[in-house]
């Protein structure tokens, strides 16, 4: 059975249709990419899935349970975690304290939360940042901390919203390593929004493309790269040519 299933999910903001009748399923253990031009409705879709926004119509199932009407914290407690595209931190908490907040979803004990948070930070190779304040860190590190915080809730499904945006090639390699680690070693199902094609095409098993709130394609990365509709809407002729698709 699919871990996540969307049935004709629609989200309107007034007259604007940010998501229109989107349906797809994510299998257990899958690594799924979600791409599309700016304003296509990718982040909105994450917000609907994670319960941050109520959907206008349609239904969402997580592990067989209808979670359409659940609040964000209820969805999180069922094992669905996410990161945020734009993240404003006031800088009150240190890195490890941030991650501990995630750990506190499963324990009341501070010592246990601290130990677990240390593990997660080590896992992602950012243990040396433990005592730094979040707003003092460069963007690349902030993204990894927000990933660590989400992972700390021990989710079954992890939604990553543009964790590689604004990073240099070296940093992209690193975060790609982290995503693979989370997926393979920790066994989480991952769905990621990404504009960095090198990353998303390389690690996704399957890619879904949104444009103007609609799903315009779905398939293996190679097929998506060759899809004329996707090239026209998003990838562009040049990308297709360089990747030998045309």
């Amino acid at each position: 059975m699919a871990l996540l299933e969307l049935e004709r999910v629609t989200k309107n903001f007034g007259g604007l249709m940010a998501n229109h009748e989107i349906s797809f399923a994510v299998g257990k253990g899958e690594l799924l990419g979600l791409i599309g031009p700016n304003g296509a409705g990718k982040t909105t879709l994450f917000n609907c899935i994670s319960g941050a926004y109520p959907v206008t119509s349609g239904r969402i199932f997580f592990d067989g349970e209808d979670i359409t009407a659940l609040k964000a914290h209820e969805v999180a407690r069922r094992g669905l975690a996410r990161t945020f595209q734009v993240y404003v931190a006031s800088g009150d908490l240190t890195v490890i304290e941030n991650v501990m907040v995630g750990c506190f979803m499963h324990t009341r004990s501070r010592s246990r939360a601290r130990a677990q948070a240390g593990e997660v930070l080590k896992d992602l190779g950012i243990h040396d940042l433990s005592t730094a304040l979040l707003n003092e860190l460069p963007v690349a590190s902030q993204k990894r901390v927000s990933m660590a915080t989400a992972i700390a809730t021990q989710p079954r499904l992890l939604l990553l919203d543009e964790v590689a945006a604004g990073l240099n090639p070296g940093e992209i390699e690193e975060i790609m390593g982290s995503i693979r680690h989370v997926h393979e070693e920790l066994g989480m199902t991952v769905m990621l929004i990404e504009h960095v094609m090198e990353l998303v095409m390389k690690i996704s098993h399957r890619v879904i493309v949104l444009d103007y709130g609609q799903k315009i394609a779905e398939g293996a990365p190679e097929a998506i790269t060759r899809d004329p509709a996707v090239i026209k809407a998003y990838l562009g002729e040049r990308y297709a040519r360089e990747h030998g698709a045309v």
């Binding site: 964000a72 914290h73 999180a76 009150d92 908490l93 907040v101 995630g102 010592s111 939360a113 927000s146």
Partner: protein, 334 residues
């Protein structure tokens, strides 16, 4: 067990903090032994009371970042419960105080549920409004003495009375409130490290992110508001026995609400020592101004001018107050 250990564990503070805090604790303990004026004694009691008010406020206002300007209504609920129960049915402080806490906490749930649907300034203004409404109600409620208030007669309850908390010498009041003060610090030391403490800081940081980490933001705020309320109500009950004469205008005025919030904000909202530092500065200042200018101080509103100035300075320069400055300097040194 782990709770108690956590409450007693201050090891994450630098040695300097502990030395200063320890010395002050000893100083407070032996203060009554030294010769002192009644003015100094009264100021010390006020200082301890307001430290406790500030600690309570600090849970929701400091760690949780919800600027609550309506704490006076809970001072009133505590004070009135204790006074009414004593005057009418001769029920002693140690019984009426927990009853007052129950009333106050119940009321805080009734208010907290809708209030925490509001954000930022709207929340702050709504807390002021609810507090003023309750004060107005008490001013016309005959059972509690309406605007005249209620008096605890020391003739009817001859001092010293440890059950009813009726004393002639202030030193007894000092001992009691100092006991509460130490318990308050231990509680806050536990609180700041508890799951709820962490969740509140996450909420203050970013509510949307907090929700995505499984935190029921609305409920966490209501719970914490109740904790803050309990603190304030206990001290309110104490206040009634200490002052022995309560009326809505004194106990539940907007001044009290603002002073409570200001104390914690000046010293450092969201830190353990903040409210104590704030009270340590503001209460003596307020007392001396009153002593110095006499009744005219209140008349020309000099204390209000002072509060306004402090609010402006804090919000312009350092929202985390004096303790925020100390922390900044320390981080830079590292």
């Amino acid at each position: 067990m782990e709770t108690l250990k956590s409450a007693l564990d201050f090891s994450d503070f630098p040695r300097l903090d502990l030395v200063v805090a320890g010395s002050l604790a000893i100083l407070f303990l032996i203060f009554p032994v030294f010769p002192h004026s009644s003015f100094a004694m009264a100021t010390m009691i006020q200082f301890l009371m307001f430290s406790l008010y500030g600690m309570g406020w600090n849970t929701i206002g400091g760690y949780g970042g919800q600027v609550d300007l309506g704490k006076a209504q809970y001072v009133g609920i505590g004070a009135y419960t204790t006074t009414v129960m004593l005057v009418r049915w001769d029920i002693p402080f140690w019984f009426s105080m927990p009853v007052g806490v129950c009333f106050a906490v119940l009321w805080s749930f009734v208010l907290g549920y809708p209030l925490f649907r509001l954000k930022g300034h709207y929340f702050a203004i709504a807390t002021i409004a609810t507090s003023l409404v309750l004060k107005d109600l008490f001013e016309v409620w005959d059972f509690v003495g309406a605007a005249r208030g209620l008096e605890i007669s020391p003739i009817k309850f001859p001092p010293p009375d440890f059950l009813r908390l009726i004393f002639k010498e202030d030193v007894y009041y000092y001992d009691v409130i100092l006991g509460f003060f130490f318990v308050g610090i231990l509680y806050m030391n536990w609180f700041r490290k508890s799951r709820l403490g962490f969740q509140l800081r996450a909420i203050k940081d970013n509510e949307e992110v907090a929700r995505s980490l499984g935190i029921n933001v609305h409920w966490a705020k209501i719970k914490t508001y109740a904790i803050a309320t309990a603190f304030v109500s206990v001290v309110g009950s104490f206040h009634a026995c200490y002052i022995k004469n309560i009326e809505p205008e004194d106990t539940m005025s907007l001044d009290i609400s603002i002073l409570i919030a200001l104390m914690a904000m000046l010293g450092g909202a969201g830190s353990l020592w903040g409210p104590i530092i704030g009270a340590g500065i503001l209460i003596p200042l307020k007392s001396y101004l009153k002593e110095w200018l006499g009744a005219t101080a209140g008349l020309i509103g000099i204390d209000l001018i002072l509060y306004a100035l402090i609010i402006m300075v804090i919000s312009a320069f350092e929202p985390r107050g004096i303790w925020g400055i100390v922390q900044k300097v320390r981080r830079r040194r590292q």
